[in-house]
Symmetry: C2
Subunit: 180 residues, 2 copies
Amino acid sequence: MKYCSECGHEVVLKVPPDDHLPRYLCAHCGMIHYQNPKLVVGCVPEWDGKVLLCRRAIDPRMGYWTLPAGFMENNETTEQAAMREAAEEALAEVEILAPLTLVNVPHISQVHLLFRARLRRGQFGIGAETLETALFTESVIPWEDIAFPSVSYTLERFFEDRRHSHYGFHITTWRKTTAP
Amino acid sequence: MKYCSECGHEVVLKVPPDDHLPRYLCAHCGMIHYQNPKLVVGCVPEWDGKVLLCRRAIDPRMGYWTLPAGFMENNETTEQAAMREAAEEALAEVEILAPLTLVNVPHISQVHLLFRARLRRGQFGIGAETLETALFTESVIPWEDIAFPSVSYTLERFFEDRRHSHYGFHITTWRKTTAP
């Protein structure tokens, strides 16, 4: 950030009075520009015991497999965000069941939130940001070709919980050293 | 947003190619300025069967009681955010135990995430944004003077789960019609 988005004057990076972190400040209009982590929300769509994965058509990690997920938008709920992403990336209508995992990703200031979901009518397609979409049984999940550690973690928790017939809510932190 | 924060030229609000929502676009440098929901993170600090609440010294809802919580910062985890907010608002050192509630607040583009926590050594104080801090047993919680529906919801779930000796993870949506 170089300019104030409200008045167009240059900003400076400094700690405001009564604060403890540097912020972008506009000396002209007084605006403090806070920057905060973003939520990435998605789901594990299940159908007939299988899980729907999408192969990414865009960077980062183009060509690798992921769960339908993306940046939450203003004025929606996390469930709506998860449903919208499934519709956009996999042309899939999903019923959101329950939150399954939360993954802190502090080195890129993100929080990933994944729900369990049911794929309605078993129907899906290939969205604009997707190369390929497919249903996988646990035994054929392409573990070596999963796009992000938060997706691997979520799939592991999903299958583990399913084996025990009891789904929990799991939280972890993806540290930079484990990033692909 | 009126000006591009990267180059200082005026922005326009329009739907970019391959997108579905209006964004602030800079015709000069091409930057797309996305705006996304913010995470508010906090905890229910428990000590000796009681829960620590803070009376707000700032608006919104000045004078009303809340759990220590606030905007998550870049490059921290949700647990770190909850610990930091307890330290800032109640001068309290807490041990984060598990996520307890997630409250969608779509009308102000927020997501509230509250953890269960243990107050270390039972010590606390009064932070800069707090008028008063106190430990409450369930029977004396000032339900009529709670600052936000997400705080009431979290306290209700906490006491209910504690009665059953089993803590879950609970999700709800705070709609505008129920706002104070």
